[in-house]
């Protein structure tokens, strides 16, 4: 198996899908001549030309809508947001056009489009460049949302997302682009949407999470092990479709769980999972489900405050101990 960075795994996935299907094109700011602000599309311009790797003006609303229109007539656009922070300008076209088009047209126009880019915080980018935006997309039926945490998942899921016939918000992370991992060879490798992945087995407590927090969860689980606690780390991978069975399976096993998410708690993904679990596994719960999330503040710039604001291993341990009544 090849070892790739998350960045290169995405690049490979995009490359294979561009090669496989002429109707796929990648559009966004700096994706072509500049190889992508984070170099995810490196080399693809030379390979596929400027009709399939398209640099745009800074017009998020415009090019997101352009992508949706192109998808109405059968193209499969991959629209890159330099980061999802900037997608607030385009969200009307995602929620009101892409997500509702198939329904309000009575099934005539499906929208096979991928909106992708880094989501959440990197390092000291402060309030306007650090928001985790999953909730804004996952809330709305008509959208699918995926958040790969590893290179293999990044490649397998980007391919699945591009082949999917519905709008997919594909949320990456700047902090993950350099993460290395093994990635299966061959362009038939796919990670289907809607399949969670148990990143670590455990029987005492479930740490359910998604995206870059998977790595924080694994660090916490390693520490817990030293204390004799076996934590199971469930990586949702897809937020919609949601692998409810995998979540319940873990709860049935551990009877205790926390949800770890990068973003804010209020009506976040964690709130949804917690509600769902207690609705569907109430009698299996030996303790309340605790959420670990970003401090309920805009992301501060100062290094020390940013550290405090982000959810970290310490908070995860505290939460796990709480639900373990230790």
């Amino acid at each position: 198996m090849q070892t790739l960075t998350y960045r290169d795994a995405l690049n490979q996935g995009l490359d294979e899908e561009l090669a496989r299907d002429d109707s796929v094109f990648v559009m966004g700011e700096e994706v072509a001549e500049y190889d992508g602000a984070y170099k995810v599309t490196k080399g693809l311009l030379e390979k596929y030309g400027d009709q399939r790797l398209v640099d745009t003006p800074i017009s998020e609303l415009g090019f997101a809508g352009l992508g949706v229109g192109a998808a109405m007539v059968g193209l499969r656009p991959v629209i890159e947001f330099m980061t999802f922070n900037f997608a607030f300008l385009a969200i009307d076209q995602v929620i009101n056009s892409a997500a509702k088009m198939l329904y309000m047209s009575g099934g005539q126009f499906n929208i096979p489009i991928v909106f992708r880019g880094p989501n959440g915080a990197a390092l000291q980018l402060s309030a306007q460049h650090s928001q985790a935006c999953e909730t804004y997309y996952a809330h709305a039926p008509g959208v699918k949302v995926v958040t790969p945490a590893t290179p293999a998942d990044a490649k397998g899921l980007i391919k699945a997302a591009i082949r999917d016939n519905d709008p997919v918000a594909f949320m990456e992370a700047e902090m993950l682009y350099n993460v290395k991992g093994e990635v299966p060879e061959g362009d038939d490798f796919i990670v289907p949407l809607g399949v969670a992945d148990v990143k670590r087995e455990g029987s005492d407590v479930s740490i359910i999470t998604h995206g870059k927090m998977v790595h924080v969860a694994l660090q916490a689980a390693a520490k817990l092990e030293k204390e004799g606690v076996q934590a199971e780390v469930v990586d949702l991978r897809s937020i919609r479709p949601l692998d409810v069975e995998a979540i319940l399976r873990s709860i049935h096993k551990t009877n205790r769980a926390i949800y770890l998410e990068e973003g804010w708690a209020f009506a976040g993904v964690g709130a949804q999972i917690v509600s769902l679990v207690q609705e569907e596994a109430f009698d299996y719960l030996d303790a309340p489900l605790i959420r670990v999330s970003q401090a309920d503040v805009p992301m501060p710039y100062a290094k020390n405050l940013e550290q405090m604001a982000k959810p970290g291993v310490e908070q995860v341990l505290k939460a796990c101990n709480r639900v373990l009544y230790r």
Binding site: G62, L66, L102, S105, G106, Q108, N165, L193
Partner: protein, 358 residues
């Protein structure tokens, strides 16, 4: 025209250029007249149906603007695309969507153009390449630009026509779209139906300059035409469409017209924002159907009887559409969860309302 009535040269002398038939032959003229009569009667029927509660929600009539629908859309080919906002019933019909399907959509029946899921603001016709029917002012502009992108991407020679109202030019989407279309030379025709009001707001209150000036600054051709003169509009668009098809890149056309009805059903025809006199004057002098009728009669190409016959036919079709709609079933309950997603993934749960998998 409240009622079709015969005309003599005398009482039309006021009307400018009544002689000018732009070289259309009689059959072509009759077709355009027939089309506009249908649009008018069809929407009058919808208005009736709305009044008795057969149609719900927002319903925006195009009455008075039929010249735009016929004059802009009829010059198009079947493989050209048309996209519009929410005042689109007649544009859908002009592009070939079955009046029965349009009326059934207004009635919210499963035989509707959008299976009853969309309603008045969301008429779609994939086969006819009528691309909706969009309710967010300005949102259709990037969408139609994307269709233009796809046409160019595939090297096809069809065009994408985007209708919008005068008020929509104040949306950033208008600006962003025109810039991209210009940079990438997309085959898009941006058509502003300038009926001079956005709801209750006169254009002059939300723009310091004439509408067509607002389209400058992108390097694309900007033209204007009188939409109440369907023949002038048709000829103008014949040329614009050909130019765009031949690779001129995007063009912008202002079509001047007037809304004879209120903004939507709840909005009075006149009152707070425009005077009774203004509206009556516009209806008297600027009815696209009357203008064409008079010209044809003056030219001896249309008799009173023929007009009455055509009008009766238009009423009959509208009547039938209403009956068709009335007799059509509502969508079945199973449709509630259909068409949310085109692809129900093999794994995972897509619907999370706790009502079960729909």
């Amino acid at each position: 025209m409240a009622e079709t009535k015969s005309r003599t040269r005398s009482d039309t002398s006021a009307k400018p250029g009544t002689e000018d038939l732009f070289g259309f032959d009689r059959e072509e003229l009759l077709d355009l007249l027939r089309d506009m009569l249908l649009y008018r009667r069809f929407e009058e029927k919808a208005e009736e149906a709305y009044a008795i509660g057969k149609i719900g929600g927002f319903c925006h009539l195009h009455i008075g603007q039929e010249g735009v629908a016929a004059g802009c859309i009829k010059p198009l080919r079947g493989d050209d695309y048309v996209m519009s906002a929410y005042r689109e019933h007649t544009q859908a019909i002009a592009k070939g969507v079955d009046p029965n399907a349009v009326m059934a959509e207004l009635y919210g029946r499963v035989t509707g153009a959008s299976r009853g899921n969309g309603g008045s603001m969301h008429i779609f016709g994939a086969e006819e390449r009528f691309m909706g029917g969009h309710g967010i002012v300005g949102a259709q502009i990037p969408l139609a630009t994307g269709i233009g992108w796809a046409i160019k991407y595939r090297g096809e020679d069809s065009v994408s026509m985007a209708f919008m109202g005068d008020a929509a030019v104040n949306q950033g989407a208008f600006h962003e779209s025109k810039n991209m279309a210009a940079v990438w030379d997309l085959p898009v025709i941006y058509v502003v139906e300038n009926n001079h009001y956005g709801m209750g707001t006169a254009f002059g209150r939300v723009s310091d300059v004439e509408l067509r000036e607002r389209a400058r600054g992108y390097g694309m051709p900007v033209t204007s035409v009188n939409g109440q003169d369907v023949l002038a509009t048709y000829r103008h668009f014949e040329q614009v469409v050909q130019e765009v098809r031949d690779g001129s890149g995007p063009q912008f056309v202002e079509v001047n017209t007037y809304r004879f009805k209120g903004h939507s059903m709840s909005d009075p025809v006149s009152g707070t924002y425009r005077s009774k006199e203004e509206v009556e004057g516009a209806m008297e002098k600027g009815d696209p159907i009357e203008i064409l009728t008079v010209r044809m009669m003056d030219a001896g190409l249309l008799t009173d009887g023929e007009l009455k016959e055509m009008d009766a036919e238009a009423r009959r079709i509208s009547e039938e559409a209403a009956e068709f709609a009335e007799n059509s079933p509502f969508p079945g309950p199973e449709e509630l969860y259909e068409n949310v997603y085109a692809e129900i993934n093999e794994h995972g749960r897509l619907f999370l309302d706790g009502r079960g998998e729909g």
